[in-house]
């Protein structure tokens, strides 16, 4: 089996879904002739034509809004937002429309759209190219939020996202696009949304992470008996897998790249408090970015949680 990077994996997921289902169309800035600023859609215009791989005007609100309209008509649009911070203009379309149309119409309509966007620090991009605000999408009822961490799971998760009847925000860790490779089966496999993956078994600490940070978390485990869980779907997350692990380990560390305050780590902490309090031998610790504006390139390494910081959290929960 050939190895592939994250860009290839996403590209193949898109191509296979477009092949499988004529209703899948791609909208985005520079995704056509240019093949996307990260080259994620390279070759798709040539293969599927300009009617299904559409270079749009510079119009994030318009793209997501049009995608909702296309979905109402029966298409299954996948929108690429060039960088996560540029999704903000389209938030109303996601929150007030995509997320609600199924409920508002009591099931008559849905908005099965996927909004893909690279997120996170680590590519030395300009300002506003490194945001990681998954939590705000998680907070909105009706939206699903997915973050792959490897080429393998990216392909399987994206396919599920495209087939899902609900709107999905699909966040691609930009730092991982070309830095890791995994085996990538040619078959049509999917990874169900709402399913977390135990990527390393362990007995003393449950470490939960996703995307880029999952790899840092793995790095940090040396010398600790850590069970590492790749959350994959942040909303709705896989409660069972989490609870089973915590019942075993009694200690939890959540690692994410976003700032901590009201981040997804807070939800995980509250969840464990409510549903697994008696199993907890130490507080759920969060390792996150600080409560500061995401810095530019020179300081970005200081913003991202470091391996040492994760190890300190492991030590802390072990010595509690």
């Amino acid at each position: 089996m050939a190895k592939a990077n994250l860009v290839d994996a996403i590209n193949r997921a898109l191509a296979e879904e477009m092949e499988r289902d004529e209703r899948v169309v791609l909208l985005g800035e520079d995704i056509g002739r240019d093949g996307g600023v990260f080259r994620v859609t390279a070759g798709l215009l040539e293969r599927f034509g300009a009617e299904r791989v559409v270079d749009t005007p510079l119009s994030e609100l318009g793209m997501v809004g049009a995608a909702v309209g296309m979905a109402l008509w029966g298409l299954r649009p996948v929108v690429e937002i060039q960088f996560m911070a540029f999704i903000y203009e389209a938030i109303e379309q996601i929150f007030s429309h995509a997320a609600r149309i199924h409920s508002r119409s009591r099931g008559r309509y849905s908005a099965p759209i996927v909004v893909r966007t690279p997120y996170g620090v680590g590519i030395k991009g300009p300002e506003l190219h490194s945001d990681s605000t998954e939590a705000i999408f998680c907070h909105m009822p009706g939206v699903k939020v997915v973050v792959p961490s490897t080429p393998y799971n990216a392909k399987g998760l994206l396919k599920s996202a495209i087939r899902d009847e609900d709107p999905v925000v699909f966040l691609e860790p930009s730092r991982l696009y070309r830095t890791i490779k995994t085996e990538l089966p040619q078959e049509d496999y999917t990874i169900p949304l709402g399913h977390a993956e135990v990527v390393k078994e362990g007995g003393s600490i449950t470490a939960i992470s996703w995307g880029t940070m999952l790899h840092r978390t793995m790095e940090a485990t040396e010398g600790f008996d850590v069970e590492v869980i790749d959350l994959q779907t942040l909303k709705p997350f896989d409660e069972e897998t989490l609870l089973n692990s915590v019942k075993k380990t009694g200690r939890t560390v959540v690692v994410h790249e976003a700032t901590g305050f009201c981040g997804v780590g807070a939800e995980l902490s509250a969840f464990f408090a409510e549903l697994a309090m008696l199993h907890l031998r130490s507080p759920v610790m969060r390792v996150t970015a600080p409560d500061g504006v995401v810095p530019m390139a020179i300081l970005e390494d200081h913003y991202m949680p470091s391996v040492e910081k994760i190890r300190r959290a492991f030590e802390e929960v072990m010595n509690y």
Partner: protein, 351 residues
């Protein structure tokens, strides 16, 4: 003048029947007796529905309600230009459109009672739940009309919004993309001169809404929105052009909101009653009646009958709507996503 002129544009205006009932004979064709009667009957029906809603609200039987009084020609005239395959994207102020399209009135009433089931659009009707955040549905109509074009459907999307809606980014991005992709979409702005208390002149410094189409490379026209013939004709033409793949049109229906913004509003705080009186003289039923008289289609008895029938229809809808049992609290969670999450399942038990 040192500058060279490289392009020029004209803003056009359409009126077929004026306030006094005079009609432009050259334009007055294609209106069969059947169609003209439909205009009248649907207009009366929507007006009846509307005034009943205002009473129901006063009696506390429905919630806040936005009146369409004065705008019926824009609503009914445009709605009757639609085909069954076309899609409709209304705002909250489109009772007249929905009534004209035969939307079940008991559902509409349920909606105004505060029941989502009122926007569970019956299958076969391509109507999207009314948009509450102003202007935000405009890009949906673009996407829908674009999808129609991509799939070669002989259908169009008709999007309603107000003068206020034209100020929103959604309007701009929606119309711009529709222009670029030649979406099968018709954008119909009911310029009723007010956005709650903000007059049209303060909404935008452009003289018309119609001319905003020039920014997007397609046609914009202003239509006398109280002339149901002009509205019908302009909408039909635009829908047909869209269906032929000739791209979108922006129609500005120049009309007037004769009532308060909603039942929660008191327009006397900000609006000159004299202005309202002036516009009352131009309300759409007056001139429709005059035209029908001339065509020999109107008698007092006929109108009485139409009114009576409309009242019966609305009353029976009210009865039906009020007989419906309230929705289940679990609906809150059941419809949020297609399958409930673990958390939602726990929460369902507590509701």
């Amino acid at each position: 003048m040192p500058y060279r002129v490289i392009d020029s544009f004209e803003v056009r205006y359409l009126q077929i029947v004026d306030e006094a009932g005079n009609l432009d004979e050259s334009l007055f064709d294609g209106f069969s007796e059947w169609l003209v009667r439909s205009f009248f009957e649907r207009l009366v029906l929507s007006r009846t529905f509307n005034s009943r809603c205002l009473s129901l609200q006063r009696e506390g039987r429905i919630g806040t309600y936005p009146s369409i009084y004065g705008q019926e020609a824009s609503q009914v005239g445009s709605a009757l230009a639609l085909d069954a395959k076309d899609w409709v994207f209304p705002t909250f102020r489109e009772s007249g459109v929905l009534a004209a399209l035969g939307y079940p009135m008991e559902l509409l009433l349920r909606y105004w009672m505060g029941d989502e089931r009122g926007m569970k659009i019956p299958h076969g009707m391509n109507i999207v739940p009314m948009s509450i955040p102003v202007g935000t549905h405009i890009p949906h109509a673009t996407g829908c009309g674009w999808a129609m074009r991509l799939e070669g459907a002989r259908a169009a999307a008709l999007c309603y919004f107000g003068d206020g809606g034209s100020s929103r980014g959604d309007f701009h991005e929606g119309l711009n993309m529709a222009g670029v992709f030649k979406a099968n979409t018709v954008f119909l702005c009911q310029n009723n001169q007010w956005a709650i208390s903000v007059p049209r002149t303060r909404q935008t410094a452009s003289r018309t809404i119609a001319q905003k189409a020039f920014s997007y490379g397609f046609e914009g026209i202003q239509v006398d929105g109280n002339d149901i013939f002009a509205v019908y004709r302009a909408t039909l033409d635009a829908l047909n052009r869209a269906k032929r793949g000739e791209g979108p049109t922006l129609i500005e229906c120049f009309t007037y909101r004769l009532d308060d913004h909603t039942t929660a509003d008191d327009a006397s705080r900000y609006r000159d009653p004299g202005e309202v009186e002036e516009w009352k003289k131009r309300e759409p039923l007056l001139r429709l009646r005059l035209v029908m008289q001339r065509m020999g289609l109107w008698t007092e008895d006929y109108e009485k009958e139409v009114v009576k029938h409309s009242e019966e229809v609305v009353d029976s809808a009210i009865e039906k709507a009020e007989a419906v049992s309230p929705p289940e609290p679990s609906d809150i969670l059941i419809y949020t996503s297609h399958t409930p999450s673990g958390r939602q399942r726990r929460e369902l038990k507590e509701l």
